[in-house]
Symmetry: D2
Subunit: 341 residues, 4 copies
C-alpha cells in the first residue's frame, strides 16, 4: 500500500504513524517530496482500512498495490479453472457451452418440449426458472418446488444437466440435492448470506454480475463463495445498467477479456436478459464467442408469445436452431467445440 501525506504533517505525528504501521509487522519506506511525503508499506496490508486512514486530514491519497481478491485472482492461480458438470466441461478453452431453456418452467409439456428440442440442437445444459425474482409482487413468481421436479423430469428424459436460480439461503440444501448448477441472479450478487451458504457446498455456482456491479465487486462476490470453500464458480455477464434505454441493459462484452485477465474462473454471457429483445440474441451470441466467452446462457421457449415471463427476449425453437447453426459454423473458425463438431 502506498500512502501520500501532506508535507505539513507534524514530524512527531508522522513518526507515530510510521511506528504504528511497523508495529503491525509492516515494513515502511519514506519518500519525502517537495509537495508531499510518500510512505511505501510492505507486508500484509489487508489488515488496513484505506477509507479509515483517509480520515486523517494529513493523509491525501492512498493506493492499494494489490487486488482485494485472492482466491479468484489469476495472479495466484495462473491456470484456468475448468468446471465439470456431469461431463460437460466449462472453461477448458476448447468448448463453447450452450445453456438453453425457458425463462420459467411452466408445465411438464412445455419444459419437456423445449428440453428435447434444445438438446437435439446442441445445448449442453438445460436452464429454466422455478423460483422467479419479479419486479412486481403481482407477477407470476414461478412454480417453485413443482418447477424443480419438472426440471428433474426433463433432465431424466434428455440427460441434460440443469441450472436454475436460487433466491434464499434456506433453499440451498434442496438445490444442492436436486440441481446441477445453482444460479445466483443479478439482484442477489451481493446477497452475502446466500453467498456464504453457497460457499459451504461443492455444487457449481453460476454467478451473474449485478446490474451496477463493477468487475471488481463481481469478483469479490465470487471470492465470498470461494472463501467458504466452494471453488466451482462460473461467472456470467448479463448486461449492466446505463443511461441507454433502447436495450434493457447494456451488455458489457469488454468484461469478458477483463475477467479472463484478472481471474482464472470461466465466464459465460447471457444475451437474452442484456438486450431484452429476441432479435438481438443472435448477433450478441456470435460476439460473445468472438470476444472469448466460454459459452452462453440463452432463453428458448416453444411459444414465446404465451410465455409466463420474459417472452419478448425468448427465442422460439426455430430461431434457436438457426442460432446454433451460426454458432456451430463459427466455432469451427475458432477451433472450439460447439454443436455438430
Amino acid at each position: 500500500m502506498v500512502i501520500v501525506t501532506k508535507t505539513t504533517i507534524e514530524r512527531q505525528k508522522l513518526d507515530t504513524m510510521v511506528q504504528d504501521f511497523r508495529n503491525l509487522g509492516l515494513e515502511v519506506d519514506i519518500i519525502e517530496g517537495t509537495g508531499s511525503i510518500v510512505l511505501g508499506l510492505i507486508g500484509d496490508t489487508h489488515q488496513l482500512d484505506a477509507d479509515r486512514l483517509l480520515l486523517d486530514p494529513d493523509i491525501e491519497r492512498i493506493m492499494r498495490v494489490q487486488e482485494p481478491f485472492k482466491k479468484a485472482s489469476r495472479k495466484f492461480h495462473p491456470e484456468a479453472t475448468v468446471i465439470d458438470v456431469n461431463g460437460v466441461s466449462i472453461g477448458d478453452g476448447k468448448s463453447f457451452v450452450v445453456m438453453a431453456g425457458p425463462c420459467s418452467v411452466e408445465t411438464e409439456e412445455q419444459i419437456l418440449t423445449v428440453a428435447k428440442s434444445v438438446k437435439s440442437n446442441g445445448a449442453s445444459i438445460l436452464r429454466g426458472g422455478a423460483y422467479k425474482p419479479r419486479t412486481s409482487p403481482y407477477s407470476f413468481q414461478g412454480l417453485e418446488l413443482e418447477g424443480l421436479e419438472l426440471l428433474k423430469k426433463a433432465r431424466k428424459e434428455t440427460g441434460l444437466p440443469i441450472v436454475t436460480e436460487i433466491m434464499c439461503p434456506s433453499l440451498v440444501e434442496v438445490f444442492n440435492e436436486n440441481v446441477d448448477i445453482i444460479q445466483v441472479g443479478a439482484r442477489n450478487m451481493q446477497n452475502f448470506d446466500l453467498l456464504k451458504e453457497l460457499g459451504k457446498i461443492e455444487k457449481p455456482i453460476l454467478l451473474k454480475r449485478g446490474l451496477s456491479a463493477t468487475i471488481e465487486e463481481w469478483l469479490m462476490s465470487a471470492e465470498y463463495i470461494m472463501a467458504g470453500g466452494n471453488h466451482n464458480v462460473i461467472l456470467c455477464e448479463r448486461g449492466i445498467r446505463t443511461f441507454e434505454t433502447y436495450t434493457r441493459n447494456t451488455l458489457d462484452l469488454s468484461a469478458i477479456p477483463a475477467v479472463k485477465k484478472l481471474s482464472h474462473l470461466p465466464v459465460v454471457v447471457d444475451p437474452s436478459h442484456s438486450a431484452g429483445m429476441s432479435w438481438m440474441v443472435e448477433p450478441l451470441s456470435l460476439a460473445a464467442m468472438a470476444v472469448g466467452a466460454d459459452g452462453i446462457i440463452v432463453e428458448v421457449h416453444n411459444d414465446p408469445k404465451n410465455a409466463l415471463c420474459d417472452g419478448a427476449q425468448s427465442l422460439d425453437l426455430d430461431q434457436y436452431g438457426a442460432l446454433m447453426d451460426k454458432l456451430g459454423n463459427m466455432s469451427v473458425h475458432f477451433g472450439k467445440k460447439c454443436y455438430k463438431i
Copy 2:
C-alpha cells in the same frame, strides 16, 4: 393501456387481437391513422404483459397509462402516511427526524457512549449495524446477535428506539421481536424473499433505494412489502451509482420531491453512505431538509479513526453536535420540529 400497430397488419389478425382483449373483459377503441393504428384498452390491464405483446411484429409500441404500483401510490391514497415509532412520528410534515449512530455496533461502551451523546443532541432514533453487508468476505461482518443485545441495552438506557439492518429472511422473527425499525439495505432492495417475509409483520421497515434502482423500482419494492399487508414503509434515499467517482455514490435529492409526488410514504435521506466522506454530511443534511425530506439517518462514532467500518464517513460526537445546531436553526425557518424546538 395504449397499443400501436402497423397499418399493414392483416384485418383478420387485428379483429382476432381485439376480440381477445374483449374476452379478457377489456373495452377496446380503435383509432386508424395514416401511419399506424392505435388501440385504446380500458379496464384492468394489469393482466396484460406489455413485453410479451411486443413480440408480435405487427405491434410497434405500447404505453402503460397507469403506474404499476397501487398501494404505494398517492393516487389511491392522497393523504401522507405517518408512521409512529414508539412515539416518534415520521412523515407528519411537521418534524424532521434524525436517526443517528455508528455504522457497526462494536462494544457496549461504544454504543452506549454514542447513544447517550446523540440523544442529548437531538436524535430521535438510534441506528447501529449488528449484521453488516461487506463487499469483502475478509472484512468485519458485525457482532450479529450480540450486537442486537447491545442495541437493546442502549435503548433501555436512553429510551431511543433502534433501527438496524436485516439481510436474511430467516432472521425476520428475531428482528421483529427485538428492534423498532427494520432496515433493508440497498443491496437487498430486490431480495424479494426478504421483502415478502417483511410484508407479513407490522414492524416499520426502512427501505433503502438500491444502487441502480429507478424510483419506480424502489416503489415496487415498497409495494412488495405492502402487498403482504405491512403498510409501515419508510423510504430512504442513499445515493445511486453513476460515472462520478469523486463521491462514493451520487445523492439523488431530486428523488425526494419525486417520491413525495408519486407516493404517500415518508422518505428520509442518508447523507453518510451517499458521499462516503464525513465533511460532506453537513451540507447534504441541510439540503435534505430544504428539499423536503422527512429526516436523515446519519453515521456517528465516538472514535471514527478506529471504527471497525465506514469510519471515513462517520461524524465524531462534536461534528454531530455542530450538525444538529445547524439543522435545529434551519428547522425553525421551515417550521419543522427538530432538536431544541
Copy 3:
C-alpha cells in the same frame, strides 16, 4: 401522438384542446376510459412539443408514435446506404473496412512508416489526428495544418484515403479540400454549429457517438448533417460512459444491431478508445465483426511507448499485423471482404 388526460378534466377545456389540435390540421379520436381519457392524434404531429403539452396539469402522459428522425430512418429508406470513399465501399454488407493509423500525426517519418505498414497489412483507410481534443490544456494539441500536409503525403505515397478529426466550423473548408472522410469526435457530437456546416458539403462524415449519447440522440446528430443535404454519414460506436472504471469506456456492441435496425447508415466500431488498452483491441475487433459492424477504426503506432498521445491503447505494427490475420481469417467465415480475400 397519443395523449392521456385525467378524467377530471373539464369538458369545456377538453373540447377546446381537441379543437386546437384540429385547427392544426390533425385528426383527433377520443377514447374515454374509467381512469383516463385517451386522445389519438393523426397527422403531422412534429409541430407539437410534448414537453410543453405536459405542462397542462390535466395531461398525464404523452407517447410519440413515430421516431423523431426521418432522413436517417430505415423506415423511410429501407435499403442500406453505401458510401464510396475513393473506391473503398463502406456499408455494402460485403466488406469489413479497416481504418488504421496513429492517434496523432507526429512526424513525416512516423506517419509514412505507419501508413505503409497498415496498407501492406490490409487497411483500406488511413487515420491520424492533426487537431487533437485533449482534456488538459497542457497536453500536445496536434500538428494542425502541418499534420494535414503530412497526411496528404502519406496518402500520396500509399494511395490510402485519409480520415481525420475536425473540431471547429471554421475549418470545414480546409478539411473538405484536403481529406477524404471528416471525423466528428465524441465530444463534438452535439456541436450543432459544426454539424450544420458539415451538412453543406458532400464529403463523407464519420460521426462518433457521444460519451453519454443515447442511440436516438446519435441518430438525431446524423439527422442534422443529413437535413443540411449531406447524406454521407458513417456512424462510429466508441464506447459510452458508465460506472465501470476498469475500461476507460464501456463499448456498447448492442448499439450495432440497434442502429442497423433503426437506420440505413453504415456503422463502424472504435475498439481502441472504448477500452483504452491495447490488449483489448483484438477481442473487441473480432466481436465487432461478429455483431455486424461494417468495419473498425483502430489506432496503430510504430512506437507506442513514445507516442505523443494515447499510446496505451495503440497497437504496434506487429500487433496490428496479428489482428489483421485474425480478422482476415474470420471474415472468410462471415463471407465479408477483409484483407487477403
Copy 4:
C-alpha cells in the same frame, strides 16, 4: 507520481527506467517490496503520460499524487474568487445570486415582460437564449443576432446584466461586445476550440458541467479558459446523465461542496434543466442554497405553455415570485443576501 512495477522486472531495465526519469530532472526513490517495487517520483511529473507508461508490461499501477489542474485549484489559490458583473458580486460567500429569464428570447414583448418581472422579484441577472442548441434540426434554433439585440434592450430597460449561451468560436467577439456573462452549455463543455477563444478575453464565463463530465473534467475545462488568461469562470451544475428517467437528468448537489473544496471558483446551480419539470424547481433551489451554492440560474417565462422551448421546466411569473419569497426567507437564516434583504 508513484509507479508500481512487478518484482520480476529485469534489474537492468529497472535501472534504465530510473535513469530516464532522472534525466528528466526527477528525483526517484525506490522501495522494494516482496510483491512489487514502488518508485516514488519527485519533481514536475506533468511531463509524464501515465497511460503511456502503463504500456510497459512490467508496470502494474500508477498513482498521480497531484491534481491535473493548477489555476483552478484551491491548493494554489486558497481564497475564493469573487466575480463582479456590473456590480453584482458572485462567489463572495455573502450573496445568493439569482439569474432568471426565459429559455429562448422570442419577442421584444416577451423578454421585456419577463425581465421587468424578475427584476422586481429579486433577480440580479437576466438569462435568455439567442442561439439555442437543439437536439433536433427541425426545432426552433433561436433568434440569433436579433435575440442579442432584444436582450440588450431588456438590459437597458431594467439595468440587469445579461447572460446568454455561445456555441461557436466565431461569435466570441460579438458576444464579448454585447453580453455580460457568456454561457458555455453542457454540450460544449469540451469544445476546446471554443474554450481557447474564451480564454483570450476577460468577460466572465458561465461554464456548465457536461452531461457526463466528472468533476475533474469540468475543472479541467475551466483550466482551459484560465490557462488562456481569463480567470473569470463561474461553474454551473445542471444535472448529469444517469440511469434514472423520471427526471431528465440527476442534479448532483454533492458536486457543490466538492467543487468548493477543490477549487476557488464560484459555483451556481441550474434547477430547471436538471429536473426538466417546473414543479421541482422550488425544492431544488432551496436545496442549492442549503448545500452552499453561490446562486441559481432559473428559467422563467410569462407564458410557459406557449414557450418556443423548454416550457415544461419554466416557472411562470407567479411561480417565480413564490420561489423568491421562499429563497428570500431562507437566505436570512443563512445570512446571505438574496432578494428583500
